[in-house]
């Protein structure tokens, strides 16, 4: 099942979003154009359905409240609307459609309250809120049905879908020097501090097989690289270890705090692609990698999607990279985030017919679409 369409009003810097999606989705846009904000829609829903203490209130508070979330440029509409369609491959009608509108409570406990919540299965309405019970008891509107296991029996597939969303934006320093950052490691682990525990929590057989595949790729990508292993130290803490060719026999191995930034990011990227059949959100996977490797990323993504034993696994990628977007194998949905005419918010443009034609005729998305995101005319200096 894939996200086939997404609509939103007043989500962060977007006043309106309405895009249909197909295959891997690439998000292109200048710095600050809203690529991460777009990905955050999925993380937001994941926070709602997170069985360990998630929920609408949590998801909004994590983002510092409605005032931070709601589009500053919006005027009339008081709240935020989200609508997501999930479709089985090849089906006409989306299997699921889920709509959620919410806004901040005026006065009182200043919670976030649901204005509308609806779910459709194969085009038919399953429920619509507020219902009669909600009218009697306003507190109920602080919780979505989606987050309530006893209420969402009929549409649990939706929550299950989003629970498994993976977000990858590994910051090597956070992993290498975790002791220096007394950071709160959130459940969703956005920046990779928990990457090693994630490895540790994976059943050994799976882990060995995945690391074996990663090792093979690293051998090609890193000069002189020889071996990658998962180990636990005497305190039981998980580590990755690496060995290079031509090291003195007793030179020992390096642990992850000595890995290069690009090595760590590449390992995390490959691991993430192997570990999910579901939604994967990749933040600028090109970071720290040699251009040659960046150019391989579209192929990596396609292979991950097609690999055996996988139902698919939809991938969203935010990127600035020319190398990534000019790989000839690249395909999918390209979303170009550009400021609106008035400049007060961002709109999402899909390629025009001519732009698609040009790509078909041998130009790459990097040639045809990336220039549209250029923040400056001419040069900065």
């Amino acid at each position: 099942m894939d996200v086939s369409r997404i609509k939103a009003t007043n989500w962060r810097n977007f006043r309106k979003i309405d895009v249909e999606l197909n295959g891997t989705t690439y998000l292109l846009g200048a710095n600050g154009s809203g690529k991460s904000n777009f990905l955050d829609i999925f993380r937001f829903i994941r926070d709602i359905v997170n069985p360990k203490g998630g929920g609408l209130q949590y998801a909004v508070e994590e983002r510092k409240g409605m005032t931070k979330l709601r589009c500053l440029a919006s005027r009339q509409v008081p709240g935020i609307d989200l609508e997501i369609e999930l479709k089985e491959n090849g089906e006409e009608v989306p299997t699921w459609r889920y709509c959620l509108s919410f806004s901040g409570e005026k006065g009182g406990k200043r919670r976030t309250l649901i204005r509308k919540e609806e779910a459709y299965k194969n085009g038919e309405l399953i429920f619509s809120r507020p219902d009669d019970k909600d009218k009697d008891d306003k507190d109920r509107l602080a919780e979505t049905y989606l987050e309530q296991t006893n209420a969402n029996k009929e549409f649990r597939e939706i929550s299950a879908f989003f629970q498994k969303t993976l977000y990858l934006h590994l910051i090597p320093q956070l992993l290498k020097y975790s002791e220096m950052f007394v950071s709160k490691q959130t459940e969703s682990d956005p920046f990779g501090q928990g990457f090693l525990s994630q490895l540790a929590d994976t059943p050994e057989k799976t882990r060995v097989s995945r690391l074996g595949r990663i090792e093979k790729i690293l051998k090609k990508a890193l000069p002189k690289f020889e071996e990658l292993q998962f180990v636990k130290d005497k305190h039981g803490n998980p580590h990755l270890e690496m060995r290079h060719k031509h090291w003195r026999p007793n030179a020992g191995r390096q642990q992850e705090d000595q890995f290069s930034d690009g090595t760590l990011r590449l390992i995390a990227l490959l691991w993430t692609l192997m570990s999910s059949n579901n939604l994967i959100l990749l933040e600028e996977p090109e970071l720290s990698l040699h251009e040659k490797l960046v150019g391989e990323i579209p192929k990596m993504l396609q292979k991950a999607r097609r690999s055996t034993g996988k139902a698919g696994g939809q991938i969203f990628v935010s990127t600035h990279s020319k190398a990534l977007l000019s790989d000839p194998s690249i395909s999918g949905t390209f979303l170009v985030l550009t400021p609106t005419e008035s400049g007060e918010s961002t709109q999402i443009e899909q390629p025009t017919k001519d732009e698609l034609k040009a790509i078909e005729l041998g130009m790459s998305p990097a040639d045809i679409l990336l220039p549209k995101t250029s923040p400056i005319q001419g040069e900065l200096f």
Binding site: T338, D354, K357, A358, L361, G362, M363, D367, I368, L370, P371, K372, T373, S374, G378, E379, F381
Partner: protein, 218 residues
């Protein structure tokens, strides 16, 4: 008035991109009938050298054949003549190579800087360097950018112009594109320059003819 969009426009450097914009604006002022040429958002694009442009010639030719307007400006550099360059890049054998109508492919002889130095009066005034220091026959300059930088090395007084000079190992100084772009936008007399530079004159003619009559290709 009808607009005809230049779908893709490429040049070898930031300065040539400015020149393309100026030429299109100039052309739009001059053509009283027909369509206005506009660039698609993000174009012209600086391809940083000719390699990337050359590689994309086949795809650009496909686009032009399919009716998407392509505009390329490149430097002749040390080649003999532009037909030779075109034959090589487009893999053609004819002595007078023909390109699709919607492919405006222009070669500056020998570099964009020749076109700018062709209006040496304005350039001399802009850079505050006496006009006697500038060569008077733009097509005869072997390495126009080097020539310009040499003049700057000898004569530039103001700091912003001194910063156009490259440090050892660099090709241009940090202010080069910026100052020259200002010149192109605000001081360069296209009429005067085209009276002295053949390749500029031909580029202008092609642009002016384009879409001049019925709004589509001539």
């Amino acid at each position: 008035m009808e607009e005809v969009q230049i779908f893709v426009a490429y040049a070898e450097d930031a300065l040539s991109c400015e020149v393309m914009k100026r030429l299109v604006a100039f052309r739009n002022e001059r053509t009283d009938s027909g369509a206005v040429l506009t660039f698609r958002k993000g174009f012209p694009e600086n391809k940083r050298g000719f390699g990337g442009i050359k590689k994309q010639i086949p795809a650009m030719k496909n686009m032009a054949d399919a009716g998407l307007l392509v505009f390329v400006l490149t430097d002749l550099d040390q080649r003999d003549c532009s037909p030779e360059l075109i034959r090589d890049w487009f893999k053609l054998n004819d002595s007078k190579p023909n390109l699709p109508e919607d492919f405006i492919f222009r070669v500056a002889e020998r570099e964009t800087e020749s076109w700018l130095m062709a209006d040496y009066e304005s350039l001399s005034k802009f850079l505050s360097i006496p006009v006697a220091n500038f060569p008077k026959a733009p097509d005869a300059i072997e390495r126009p950018k080097q020539e310009l930088l040499n003049i700057l090395r000898r004569k530039a007084k103001k700091r912003c112009f001194k910063e156009m000079i490259p440090e050892p190992g660099g090709h241009v100084g940090p202010e080069y594109n910026n100052q020259m772009s200002i010149f192109v936008r605000n001081h360069w007399n296209v009429d005067r320059a085209s009276g002295r530079s053949n390749s500029l004159q031909r580029a202008l003619n092609k642009l002016i003819r384009f879409g001049g009559h019925n709004g589509s290709t001539p």
